[in-house]
């Protein structure tokens, strides 16, 4: 039997309780009966003594020996329970004595034989003097017989009661057997076990049948729901794969859109980058033409002009390389520094910033290597700087400044990058929306609303960092927190 079983505990408790109560009742009954019986026997002795003592004392007072002797002798004869009667003088000498049997002559000496003993002083009713002592030995046979019979009666009563109780426990145990079996089955039940457990349907409408049958129904339902859940899970996995694929497609589209938007920016930037060298190249060509007309085009002069033109073309070619490098997707992570990222960024957007007379300040306190996708990280800076540049268009400020600073936050073991401007800041009303996709404050032809969304996605999803926006006194501030664990190259 399982000692944790409720049935076992209940049965054990009931058994112990019942047996304890029965034993207590039996013990208390025997004790009370013995006490009462003993009291009754002592009362009998007291009645006898109270009856004979005045007669004895009166006769002894008058000096009538014969009545006293006759009375003493009559005691064992008249009541077989009186085993011995003695009258002692004040000096303990036996004056009168009578015994049921000669075996009892020394009964008052051999104490501890279980008999009742009584002793009373005989006082002279006339003078109040002590005349002697009356001693009685009273048989305990009746007392023992009655107590014995009562104990037998109790035993004969308790045995059937215990038998009935045992039967009750047996019936109780058998009756709860289905619950016990059900609990054992439930203990080993697992919905994932396809074979499940078999619970028999019970007839009847009592609580046990209801519990058993309800459990059976519940198990069947659970099994049914489990099967359905399993099917749903399988479908769900397919759905999730499909949704993930959709999301990836969406991201690809977003990135594509972002790239396209960036491409628009880039073309503008390339135009800015190339405008000056193209002009210079044009001037060199005009100068060659003029020199030729004025017969000044010497070989040396032509060579110098070609060198100057080739330098310009080389510079323009570098610009193209910079843009091409940026648009080449990083397939693998590589190790780079924030300096590199900022330089790349400025190569791309520097010309447009110059044309807008926006001054960029860079302060990198701790040179920390970053292991990630460099182009994506560069795009983050491009997006943030472009946002600042656009904000300056509405600010009408003359001292346009973008400040980039970074440092290592030792207590939190993370790289902090702050990109701030003095372009007036972000209106509080839209502060919580600026990272939402397709949210823009620009005209439709100028903004896609995915720049900051992409920046946040790159920082938080791809690089494991945090990107937050806030306002400073005169502008906006972007905070990038990159945990060192996320940007450190494994094994370094």
């Amino acid at each position: 039997m399982n000692r944790h079983s409720l049935v076992f505990k209940l049965t054990l408790f009931l058994s112990l309780f019942f047996v304890s109560v029965m034993l207590f009742i039996a013990f208390a009954n025997v004790q009370i009966t013995r006490t009462n019986l003993k009291q009754s026997e002592e009362d009998k002795i007291r009645i006898i003594v109270n009856t004979v003592l005045p007669i004895i004392s009166m006769n002894m007072s008058f000096g009538f020996d014969e009545p006293v002797k006759e009375l003493i002798e009559s005691l064992p004869k008249g009541n077989r329970n009186i085993l011995a009667a003695q009258i002692l003088a004040p000096n303990e000498r036996i004056l009168y004595s009578a015994y049921t049997d000669q075996d009892y002559t020394d009964i008052f000496v051999k104490v501890g034989n279980g008999h009742f003993f009584h002793q009373s002083d005989i006082i002279d009713p006339v003078t109040g003097e002590m005349l002697g002592t009356l001693r009685l030995a009273y048989s305990n046979t009746y007392y023992q017989r009655i107590t014995g019979e009562y104990e037998k009666f109790l035993i004969y009563t308790i045995i059937p009661i215990l038998a009935i109780f045992a039967l009750f426990v047996y019936v109780f145990y058998k009756k709860l057997s289905p619950i016990r079996q059900l609990s054992q089955k439930l203990a080993t039940y697992s919905p994932s076990n396809e074979s499940g457990i078999r619970v028999e349907m019970m007839r009847g409408k009592d609580e046990i049948a209801v519990i058993n049958n309800t459990a059976k129904t519940m198990l069947e339902n659970i099994q049914s729901y489990t099967n359905r859940l399993s099917e749903l899970n399988q479908n769900l996995e397919a759905k999730i794969r499909k949704e993930v694929e959709k999301n990836r497609e969406k991201d690809r589209i977003l990135i594509q859109q972002s790239r396209q938007a960036a491409l628009g920016e880039m073309i503008g930037n390339i135009a800015h980058q190339w405008r000056q060298p193209i002009n210079a190249l044009g001037l060199i060509l005009q100068d060659i033409e003029d020199a030729h007309e004025h017969q000044e085009l010497s070989t040396q002069y032509l060579a110098l002009s070609v060198d100057q033109a080739m330098e310009l073309i080389s510079h323009m070619s570098d610009t193209i390389d910079d843009f091409r490098n940026f648009f080449l997707p990083n397939k693998e992570k590589d190790l780079f520094t924030l300096d590199q990222v900022i330089n790349n960024t400025l190569k791309i957007v520097g010309a447009s910033l110059e044309s807008e007379e926006i001054h960029v300040e860079v302060q990198i306190r701790d040179a920390i290597s970053i292991y990630s996708y460099q182009n994506e990280f560069t795009q983050v800076f491009i997006n943030m700087i472009n946002n600042s540049k656009d904000a300056f268009k509405n600010s009408h400020r003359h001292d346009k400044r973008i400040r980039i600073e970074s440092y290592y936050d030792t207590p939190h073991n993370e790289l902090i990058i702050l990109v701030s401007d003095n372009a007036g800041g972000i209106p509080e009303a839209i502060m919580d929306k600026i990272f939402d996709p397709y949210f823009t404050t620009k005209y439709k032809d100028k903004g896609t609303g995915i720049g900051l969304y992409m920046a946040k996605a790159i920082i938080e999803t791809n690089m494991g960092g945090v990107l937050k926006a806030s306002n400073t006194d005169g502008g906006a501030k972007m905070l990038i927190q990159l945990p060192m664990e996320a940007i450190r190259k494994p094994g370094r």
Binding site: N59, F62, G63, F64, P67, V126, T127
Partner: protein, 178 residues
């Protein structure tokens, strides 16, 4: 004269009742105790003494004297703190001048004398103890019935007429005279 004296002595000797000394001793022992069994015995003391008056005929003077001696020997210091005043008086003297007492001990005499003494005692409410149980029929209160065993013999009717109440303990060992 001498002859007449001898005749008188013989007459007295022959007429004198024979009193068993053992019985006298028993009675001497019992009489003061029976007095104490009277609920109102303290009202009947004389000079704080239990006065026992032994009434006798002249011819029983010796037995009466013996009775007095036995009682004095038995109770030299009195009983229960009460001293005993044991006196002798002849019936004739008593009838002429009744001497008050706590208890009257009646020795043998004529029936009429007993009746007279009993009448006086009843008036006084004094207990009468008779040597002879026959006197209970004449109104004496207490006597001793001497058979195989000795037991007090009490005339409850005469006690009631005398206004005397004895303690139940005495009655429990006594036989009631019907």
């Amino acid at each position: 004269m001498r002859r007449w004296w001898m005749v008188f002595a013989l007459f007295v000797t022959l007429s004198a009742q024979s009193y068993n000394e053992n019985i006298l001793k028993i009675e001497a022992n019992i009489i003061p105790r029976i007095v104490l069994m009277d609920y109102k015995f303290t009202d009947k003391l004389h000079d704080k003494h239990i006065r026992v008056l032994l009434l006798h005929n002249g011819m029983d003077a010796i037995s009466a004297l013996k009775m007095q001696n036995i009682m004095e020997e038995k109770y030299p210091d009195g009983i229960k703190g009460y001293a005993l005043d044991i006196r002798l008086q002849t019936y004739d003297a008593f009838l002429a001048h009744p001497q008050p007492a706590t208890v009257y001990y009646l020795m043998d005499t004529h029936t009429s004398t007993i009746k007279d003494v009993v009448a006086i005692a009843r008036k006084q409410g004094v207990l009468t103890f008779s040597h002879d149980t026959k006197n209970l029929a004449l109104g004496a209160n207490v006597s001793l019935k001497i058979d195989k065993k000795i037991i007090p013999y009490i005339n409850v009717t005469s006690l009631k007429e005398s206004g005397i109440s004895l303690r139940p303990a005495l009655l429990s060992i006594s036989e009631i005279y019907q």
